[in-house]
Amino acid sequence: MTAALPVLILLTSLIPAGVTFFLAQDSHGLRNSLNLGGAVLKLGLIVWMLFAVAGGATYEATLPLAPGLVMLLRVDALALLFISLSATLWFLTTIYAIAYFGAKPELSRFFGFFSLCVAATTGLALSGSLISFFIFFELLTLSTWPLVAHKQDKPSLSAARVYLAYALPGSAALLWAIIWLESATGPVLFTDPPDLSALDPYALRAIFALFIIGVGVKAALVPLHGWLPAAMAAPAPVSALLHAVAVVKAGAFGVVRIIYDVFGAANVIALGVGVPLAALASVTIIWGSLRALQQDEIKKRLAYSTVSQVSYIVLGAALASPLAMIGGLVHLIHQGLMKITLFFCAGIYDERAGVKKITGLNGMGQRLPWTSVCFSLGAMGMIGLPPLAGFVSKFYLGLGGLEAGAPWVLGVLAASTLLNATYFLPLLYRLWFLPAAPDATGNERAPALVIPAVVTAAAAVGVGLLAASPISPLGWATLIVTREYGP
């Protein structure tokens, strides 16, 4: 059973993915129930495991591909943190996507790849060895491509091309790093940090840099972030997936794994690579915000906001102090909840009111109140207002920065707060304070679109409000850090 569970949890999305591909376009009922069923089953399994893992259990499944190429699936607390997020959001996004697409063509392909994407994310989260991490990382890259290209029009295809143009060299760098490291240390299992003494410090730094380039593409670290705003050409559920459920999260998660389970925080500090990475993350935070300011398309602005926000996670990991780590980890969840809310809402604005540009938001607060409330909550969470989720992460990051002896982090956080406010508040201002254009239309009579947004918005409030509770993401992140990376 302990071996079956990780596999089972992977299969809950892999099987729907595989079957969906072969479903006829118009078998909506079967497809929807398959995908939703998978999601529900997965959530159930995760809840079960949450309790078990909190009690100290670990689950492991091994599949040796070739000597040294070990596919190891392992449920630890960190993995669970990530998959609970992705599973929850998968479920909601599926509901949302079903409503979003209605009876548009190529749905079997879409949902197939969508589930595959989630399966890849799950696998990535559960990976217990570098090589399985890489395998799922790539699977994620590949399964995302058709989603970005889904509309098959020129912008989508070009976005998809840009995506691959960033992702594949990134993978090459990652593979390079993995192999360089493993050629000296043997296969790297996350449970058993490798002995790095075989490599000289310069080589280790180079390996670290390659690792960061590799996962940094996914995490949209500046200057590897160009694909993310471009990918906005994709439909809203895909954006939700890219920004919250899977892709950038995978990158950030990768950074955490690499720092804590491959190199080990102590080594990262000893090598002196943590601070440059933190600096890079900070640059990304600021740069993403600045670029977000310049966008007049809602989704583009949100995309740059993601660039900025995801680097919080990287920052937390790079600072390599327990509190920063907690902040980074919890932001993994928090950013996901908030950003998916924002993208859900952006999709609703687009789909139900035809609003793509920021100027179109004028007065939408009256027309689409639920959506606008959710959007506002998401935005304020991003700014870091208490008691919303973003505040908690930011607070821990700040404390962690001080703990790590990097007080400049506070400046970065403050600047980011200000910039976030600068690019989000005008949106709220338009939503609520400005009169709607005379020809503005729109309504939110689409519960399947609105409810997921409401749920995630509520969750974004809830996880902040109940942060100190042991079952909150913060509680879980603290558990991870104290149990697995504690002194």
Binding site: F21, P64, L65, A66, P67, G68, L69, M71, E106, R109, I131, F134, I135, E138, L139, T141, L142, P146, A149, K151, Q152, D153, K154, L157, A160, R161, L164, A165, L168, P169, S171, A172, A173, L175, W176, I179, W180, E182, S183, A184, G186, P187
Partner: protein, 489 residues
């Protein structure tokens, strides 16, 4: 042993039978016997798996008088891969090369040539005798050239002739080496040559044989015949030519360098071989980028992919004994050969489907076909994953093993080429994929039977599966692995 004989002779028997059969019975017989050969290949692999290498002294005469055949893990794996590809090609060709579609000439000609090619491949995989290998390679070349010329167009004939010239020149160089080897040692058996008394002429013999085989394996800069030839042949034939034929001559290279004369290997020569391979990877990739026809892209991709194989020379065994993937490079290159075979065959078969559907393989005409022929588009994409070396495909396992040993051997530039080649592959394979996935089909496509569409999909899936289940082929490849592949040249 009986499986070995079946694998060796059944393609021949079938070829002869097909010549005598009426047109109606041709395809069923070929398919039935293909199935039998696949089974026999499986049985042979099992026999090797359980009992170690299977040896057969033909006619009961042991070397140096007679010819020895030996199925080690490598040969068994290649035979298995070839059988799968051949079976798949036969399945696809029964739709594609029907007499009413392509005429009685092609409808007849393809089948015996394909079977002769198969026979030649299996003969080469198994043979341990240098001259017997020469005859086998000649049979292979003649059948391959004939397949290239099958379509009968002027370009195809020119491509076939060019191929012929390269192949003949290669054969002669190889023959020269064989002559010197026998002249110096009185034997042609690889096993006996391994324990020979070294002679001064051995270097010349190995050099000549190697150069000849390079021309046949289409290593840069002797690849120039390959793209027009592979692109000019009918798609099922291209699949065979690209997926299997170069592997045979490469296998002989391996036999020579790792089994017959490993003592000769010198650093500089190894470096030259791998450097040519590296250039091939880049050059093939770059030229694939500028092609406008799908089959040419795929053909140049073969040039690039074959380049990886040559990293085996400086890397094999170079990773020390500490790591669990000892002999990584050797096994990695073989994985590359296997997975490339499956994926490349799948790719050419998809190209055949597109040509059958719209009558062209220009990228511009392929737009939107993923919607019309989703299974085929999916197959192409899967095969592309293998060629790019992305996990969890066989191509990835190959690249991983090669890269690991490149690092372990301290020769990281090869790893750079491996990584860069993957990116380049992504770039050149992206163009057809993007075209396929573009919004609207411009040309009305003729319907393609689903069974035909399924064939390349199965092959592509196999190439992925090779990565997912790489432990089994990995272990199989270790059986009878020559010692120099463990300790390095």
């Amino acid at each position: 042993m009986s499986a070995l004989v079946v694998v060796l002779t059944l393609p021949l028997v079938t070829a002869l039978t097909v010549l005598l059969l009426p047109a109606r019975a041709r395809v069923p017989v070929v398919l039935a016997s293909s199935a039998l050969i696949v089974l026999a290949a499986g049985a042979l692999a099992l026999a090797v798996w359980h009992g170690g290498p299977v040896t057969l002294a033909v006619g009961g005469w042991a070397p140096p008088l007679g010819i020895a055949l030996r199925a080690d893990g490598l040969a068994a794996a290649l035979i298995m891969m070839s059988a799968l590809v051949m079976g798949a090609v036969a399945l696809a060709a029964q739709f594609e090369l029907t007499p009413d579609r392509v005429g009685a000439r092609m409808g007849f000609g393809f089948w015996p040539l394909m079977l002769l090619l198969w026979a030649a491949l299996n003969a080469v995989y198994l043979s341990r005798d240098l001259f017997n290998l020469y005859v086998g390679v000649e049979l292979l070349s003649l059948a391959a050239v004939a397949l290239v010329a099958l379509s009968g167009s002027a370009q195809a004939l020119a491509a076939a002739l060019r191929y012929m010239i390269f192949a003949l020149a290669g054969s002669l160089l190889y023959l020269a080496g064989v002559v010197l080897a026998y002249g110096a040692h009185g034997t042609l058996d690889i096993g006996l040559l391994a324990v020979r008394v070294p002679a001064h002429t051995d270097a010349l013999a190995l050099g000549l044989m190697t150069a000849g085989l390079l021309a046949k394996t289409a290593l840069f800069p002797f690849h120039v015949w390959l793209p027009p030839a592979h692109a000019g042949a009918p798609a099922p034939a291209s699949a065979l030519l690209s997926a299997l034929v170069p592997k045979a001559s490469f296998l002989i290279l391996i036999r020579l360098w790792f089994e017959a004369m490993p003592d000769l290997a010198s650093g500089a020569a190894l470096l030259v071989l791998a450097a040519l391979g590296a250039i091939a990877v880049i050059w093939g990739g770059v030229l694939a980028l500028v092609q406008k026809r799908l089959k040419l892209i795929v053909a140049y991709s073969t040039v690039a992919q074959l380049g990886y194989l040559f990293f085996i020379f400086p890397l094999a065994g170079g990773d020390g004994s500490a790591q669990p993937w000892a002999a990584g490079a050797w096994t990695g290159a073989m994985f590359q050969a296997l997975s490339h075979g499956l994926a490349k065959a799948a790719m050419f078969l998809t190209a055949g489907i597109y040509i059958a559907a719209i009558g062209s393989d220009r990228l511009g005409d392929l737009r939107g076909l993923a919607r019309t022929l989703p299974m085929t588009g999916f197959a192409f994409a899967l095969a592309a994953i293998t060629l790019m070396g992305l996990p969890p495909s066989g191509g990835f396992t190959a690249k991983y093993l090669l890269m690991t040993s490149a690092f372990a051997a301290g020769q990281w530039p090869w790893a750079l080429v491996l990584a860069g080649g993957g990116v380049l592959a992504a770039a050149y394979l992206y163009r057809p994929i993007a075209a396929l996935f573009a919004q609207r089909a411009q040309t009305a496509a003729r319907p393609i039977p689903r069974a035909w569409q399924a064939v390349p999909l199965v092959l592509a899936a196999l190439s992925i599966l090779l990565g997912l289940l790489s432990a089994i082929p990995f272990d199989l490849l270790q059986i009878g692995r020559p010692a120099p592949a463990q300790e390095g040249l």
